[in-house]
Amino acid sequence: MHLRSFAIKSPTPMPGWGLSFGIMLTMLSVVVLIPITVLLWRGFVGFGATGMWEVINRPRVWNALELSFRAALVASLFNLVFGVLLAWVLVRYRFPGKRLIDAAVDLPFALPTAVAGIALTAIYAPNGVLGSVIMETFGMRVAYTELGIWIALIFVGLPFVVRTVQPVIEEIDRETEEASATLGASRLRTLTHVVLPMLTPAALTGFALALARSVGEYGSVIFIAGNLPNVTEIAPLLIVIRLEEFDYDGGVAIAIAMLAISFTLLLAINLIQIWSRRRMGAV
């Protein structure tokens, strides 16, 4: 009777607890919890940590993991800078077609990755519209090189920073900028010392989301990458290859390595975010 303090939920007259909590927990278990537990069990108990390490500690796997994270990092850093710039342009400036551009920013969310993959390959291939121009002017190949992977991941991660930073810029009180100007700061100094710090936490959130998305990206990358082992072979593709060879343990080991590195990165970014919130003030 008086077990209230041990109850999971505090008492309320609101109906539907059993039903809503039941549906939520059932689906969460079936779709997310049990499958992930099976993966970890299979890896750590079935295959063992040493076995997994042997799989990962081979040049081809190592190169694939390194490529996936390096390319995701490069693409997300580009999107961090470009996203803040794009958000600024969309909020502060007026120009014809602005609404259309604003809507188009979400295109990478709505466009299937396979479509993006073949479309980017078509234009960045050596005989493509942009690929041929870049080839002639810079002598560089884009598709079927790491540069192509960067392009695909920039495409995929484009909306994240824009969409996290945009609402923050809208909320900025112009008086802060006026105060900075009256105190003699140049416009550039106001932007770098007053505005940018206010955007930092939101921009980092967007960066983390873009990074998480692009590390594991598969569909848009495999068409443009060329998929040459050790050079342009990304980690998710290597998992697919292992599965096609029925080497489930190999696939599991690479998958767990990817999860581990992603979560470490996300944790690190979360810590940076907490630090920047404290330092720059809450936004």
Binding site: I8, S10, M24, D102, F109, I118, L158, I239, Y248, S262
Partner: protein
């Protein structure tokens, strides 16, 4: 004697909180150039490649039996995934926002987890659970319920990928709206269902539609997770995105890009509806979509 007073011509005035005009237009031009190269050029390329040999040829490729079955399968998978996802989203949002309970933060983190898992890993999860190397999978196949390399596996993988979509839209808006309206309805004697249908649902309908829209777009377009669980059996477990890959690898360029163009049109519709919701019902969507 009148002397005309000539005032000095006023200098162009720029408020201290804007950038010089030249900088402004340079930034706009830069942004547009990058977007053209990254977003618009690929989009135009899809339609150009699809129509390379004429509209009739492109349309004919869509009526091939394989293409037809891919379209049907994609519609079927979306028709199963989206309602399940919406049901989950509503249930989760109700449990999270209408009650106070322990472990709530953990559950919210778990709901978001699929966002940071590679689609390929998502597919792998269900191959491990229900594939030929798991006892459960072997038993299910022996009893006539194959999951992997069949439609149920595709639905499960798609469900994983789209898992947070509806819940993430509903939770913030329901938190913001609070519980008082439901409490008033209950006090006035409405039943739980009636309260939900006549008070809560009208309040969250646009946010729900927004989530469903994004969920549907992702469900129809998912590639990596589905590629792993489907087995890519032509005419049976090949969805539209997988069909694109097959056509592309077989150098059936027009067929691949025509199928891609269909999905691109779907993306346009999604974006148009999404933008319409953002402009029209901004106050009834989660705060991050209001602009």
């Amino acid at each position: 004697m009148t002397e005309t007073l000539t005032l000095p011509k006023p200098r162009a005035f720029r408020p201290a909180t804007t950038e010089p005009v030249l900088v402004k237009w340079a930034l706009i031009a830069l942004v547009l150039a990058i977007l053209t190269v990254l977003l618009f050029a690929p989009l135009i390329a899809v339609f150009e490649e699809a129509l390379r040999r004429g509209a009739a040829f492109a349309l004919a490729s869509l009526s091939e039996p394989d293409a037809q079955s891919a379209i049907r399968l994609t519609l079927l998978v979306a028709a199963m995934t989206v309602p399940l996802n919406a049901a989950f989203g509503i249930a989760a949002a109700w449990a999270v926002t209408k009650f106070d309970w322990r472990g709530k933060a953990w559950v919210i983190t778990l709901i978001d987890l699929p966002f940071s898992v590679s689609p390929v890993v998502a597919g792998l999860l269900f191959v491990l659970m229900f594939g030929s190397n798991s006892a459960l999978g072997v038993w299910l196949v022996a009893n006539g319920y194959p999951i992997v390399f069949a439609v149920p596996g595709i639905v499960l993988a798609t469900l994983f990928i789209t898992f947070p979509f509806v819940a993430r839209e509903l939770i913030p808006i329901m938190l913001e709206q609070g519980r008082s309206e439901e409490e008033a309805a209950l006090t006035l004697g409405a039943s739980g269902w009636r309260t939900f249908l006549t008070v809560t649902l009208p309040n969250i309908r646009w946010a729900l539609l927004y989530g469903v829209l994004l969920c549907n777009a992702r469900a129809m377009g998912e590639f990596g997770a589905v590629a792993v669980v489907s087995g890519k059996i032509r005419g049976q477990t090949t969805t539209m995105p997988l069909m694109i890959e097959m056509f592309y690898n077989e150098y059936l360029s027009v067929a691949a890009f025509t199928m891609a163009a269909v999905l691109a049109l779907l993306a346009f519709v999604t974006l148009a509806l999404k933008s319409a919701l953002e402009w029209r019902y901004a106050d009834q969507l989660a705060a991050t979509h209001r602009h």
